[in-house]
Point group: C2
Chain length 245, copies 2
DNA sequence: GAGTGGTCTAGACCACCAA
DNA sequence: TGGTGGTCTAGACCACTCA
């Protein structure tokens, strides 16, 4: 199981192997979001390595926001239901600095089929069943974002408009609490586009006014894509913040 | 100098203290971009700590892209002149995937004064001298980005249009090689705006067409802001990529 | 072969938290 | 007071690079 011998043909550092084992326990549901995982010393015993090696594996998962360390308490599986994590992937900030809460205005939830492109994006066969959600996010009464969300139907069997509304639009905590799907990372592609049609109407804009288009694909454990999302945002009083290092 | 005793009122981990000392040597120019810094063992001796502690400090600087480790060779000060680092902060990618090189079309380089807002952004007194550069970046012959750059005049004494053109618009490697200013991180704010005036003309657009506005502030060692930049981008065939974790 | 960073261990002690 | 994560050390050995 554990292979510490360097000359092995498929040599990998021990802490990488431990990291894989920990990830498998997460995927397998041995520890669920919010749970405390065993202590470093216990894990060291289980895997027959030193505490320092386990520590390095946990450190890696902690910097990826998959685990959360708390001195004196333990190490926990990260969860989207924790306060402050609900909008983890939302980078939009009001120009005057405050990160206010948004209101969710549900529009529709329908069944669909993945076309070839969406099949590639979500790693599905073309024609596979999907669920599509449209909604409007408003900020102090004014429309801000028009969201179009597509997820594969299979892992989200039973997802419907009621559940979205009950959850007040916090999709990620819904995915996690109802379907056991935790998103760990996302890729975004941004463009500037002109408002038109349904979207312009919902946002109360004239045709042709500029909108920030944010296309996002979110991934769960094992880099499996589980959600496609297109957000069209009015950026008169908000901007998308990003830090480059 | 080094304080490893935990009960000290201003307790900080040893590796953080080492990190500060290393950063000071970088600011002071003891090691310049591209240089190899002393080996871990040598630094451990100099600071009277163990190799592991030095390693942890270097690890931190390496994940911040300030130092670069190379097994078997040594640890080096990161540099913008290295190939592949020239466009380090440019997140724009063509839709069909290729990360092509851009052509730089110089427009102007003028002297100016910081207004109150720019003073705050660049940590200058209002009225301090600045240098402003405007340019157009083109991609296979077609305009792509209109850049407006403002830097404080003092640290960049002698910066002019010729130098920008000689450098083919690679501003960061110019700052570094000519003025010893290395940028280590940047903050960006993105919006969608409508093209107008000078910019619309330069980019060959009609008034009102959507543009991606990227406002960037870049920082050198010690989080000192050294450059403000506004890039207005045509995103018909390009998008801004971002990874969220 | 000499020198560098990379991995792994074992153990000591500290800081934080909860009961 | 006991358990957790956090820091620090000393030392062994491996992998990579270059002369």
């Amino acid at each position: 199981m554990i292979d510490k011998y360097y000359n092995s043909p498929s040599y990998k550092p021990l802490y990488d192997q431990i990291k894989v084992l920990l990830t498998q326990s997460l995927i397998g549901g041995e520890w669920r979001p919010g749970d405390m995982i065993p202590s470093e010393i216990e894990l060291a015993g289980r895997y027959k390595v030193s505490q320092g090696t386990v520590r390095k594996a946990i450190d890696a998962l902690a910097t990826e926001n998959i685990l959360i360390r708390r001195q004196g308490k333990g190490t926990f599986v990260a969860t989207h239901s924790a306060e402050g994590m609900k909008l983890r992937f939302l980078r939009l900030t009001s120009v005057d600095g405050q990160k206010e809460l948004l209101q969710n205005e549900f529009i529709s939830c329908t069944k669909g089929k993945a076309d070839v492109h969406m099949g590639q994006v979500l790693d599905l066969k073309a024609g596979a069943s999907t669920i599509e959600i449209k909604r409007l996010l408003t900020f102090s009464g004014r429309p801000l974002i028009f969201d179009h969300i597509i997820v594969p139907a299979a892992p989200f069997k039973g997802l419907n408009g009621n559940k979205v509304e009950e959850n007040n639009g916090s999709m990620y905590s819904l995915y996690e609490s109802e379907f056991g799907v935790r998103m760990i990372r996302a890729e975004e592609r941004l463009k500037a586009v002109a408002a038109k049609g349904e979207v312009a109407k919902a946002l109360g804009l004239k045709e042709g006014e500029p909108l920030l288009s944010i296309e996002r694909v979110s991934f769960t454990y094992g880099d499996k894509p589980m959600e496609w999302r297109l957000g069209l945002c009015i950026t008169d009083n908000h901007h998308y913040m990003n830090e480059l290092e």
